[in-house]
Symmetry: C2
Subunit: 246 residues, 2 copies
Amino acid sequence: MNIEKAAPGNFYAVGVGPGSPDLLTIRALRLIESADIIVAPRSELSKESLAVKSVEPYLSNQEVVEHVYPMSRDQEGTNECWREIAERVNGWCGEGKSVVQITIGDPSVYSTSSYLLFALTEMMEEERIHVVPGITAFQAAAARFHECLSLQDDRMVLLPAGNMDAVADALDNHETVIIYKAGKHLAKLRELLSQKGLLEQARLACYVEQEGKERLWKNFGEVDLDEAGYMATVLVRTGWRKWSEK
Amino acid sequence: MNIEKAAPGNFYAVGVGPGSPDLLTIRALRLIESADIIVAPRSELSKESLAVKSVEPYLSNQEVVEHVYPMSRDQEGTNECWREIAERVNGWCGEGKSVVQITIGDPSVYSTSSYLLFALTEMMEEERIHVVPGITAFQAAAARFHECLSLQDDRMVLLPAGNMDAVADALDNHETVIIYKAGKHLAKLRELLSQKGLLEQARLACYVEQEGKERLWKNFGEVDLDEAGYMATVLVRTGWRKWSEK
């Protein structure tokens, strides 16, 4: 399974982790170093691609193509935007080039890679499409807090902050709840966590493992909302489900 | 955040990923290469430590200490066993040595690292304890299947297979269900997935990313239970929760 380098005519969706260049896997590093073309997604709201920043030390002669995608919750527009870049990727691979799409975190977990993979699967043989996992923000956050996310018979759930009813349900039914895309919902989350008596067991990580930007709060009750950032992950440990409680 | 090497008197719980040596992060690699002592957990039922095998290409002069732990669901015995090794780690760090515990997957996700960290936190200053995330088996499995685990408003849950009622609940309430420690429960899982009409949406990965041992089934309905292995992860995609369904 050791992959030494990107093969001609092949596409790789590669997770680059949360931001720090040393949290790439060795496989990701080798693919990025050897790729002809690197596709880097950038949201229309960002000035620079965080994924490019994470791999900057490893760039030399690769052609870097930024792909700007919309941030609106518009299914049709999103599909269209990714179909377009999928066609370009398919074209490059047809010319015998190796193409790597870099993506923050892991390509299978709330990642724009999924849209590109959906579109590309319609165009290319599966054997020429590859996915390389990456460290997610919640894993990086757990590591920074020395937090145990799951052990023994624990159940761990991951969901976005947008729907507060779903978050409340999750808190009632799981030992660990990981809340993504929390940046815009921190005030509401604090209210909910306070109601449930869980503020002290909730941790907040903003821009985890991003040089110079990381902010960590071990106790959500002490968070200063003005200092918290947009890229925010919340970890809540509601309890333990040990072997004996089966 | 770039960590160049293991510092004297410091302890690092390091995830080494699912098994393939190129799925270590660069940070894990540097720490392992520079550590004085490497603690490698091995279950009493295994002949060799899978974690050691995953880092074999990177071993030279480090002292490798295997730590055998019980596989029984015995809380007291487990605590005692890890308190013992924590005391040794604390001793080594006190002598100015750098110590890395390697662990398969991620130290925060169903990992023996948690026991060692619980015990060590009682003995050592937190500043000298570090955790480095690693790729989990479920991420590696999703990558091999080109599976999207979560997107948009999806909820994803991870739990062990032991309690089939909890698994059934999880299948009813989440778009993605990841079932760990499934090896001994595959027949029961097949029954449950069949009842819920989810066999075709369930995938099974055994020994994912372990050289020469990996077995993948994209459709759980086609699994030959005699060929499936003990280290088994099941991914079930029950549906999608798109933006519009808020």
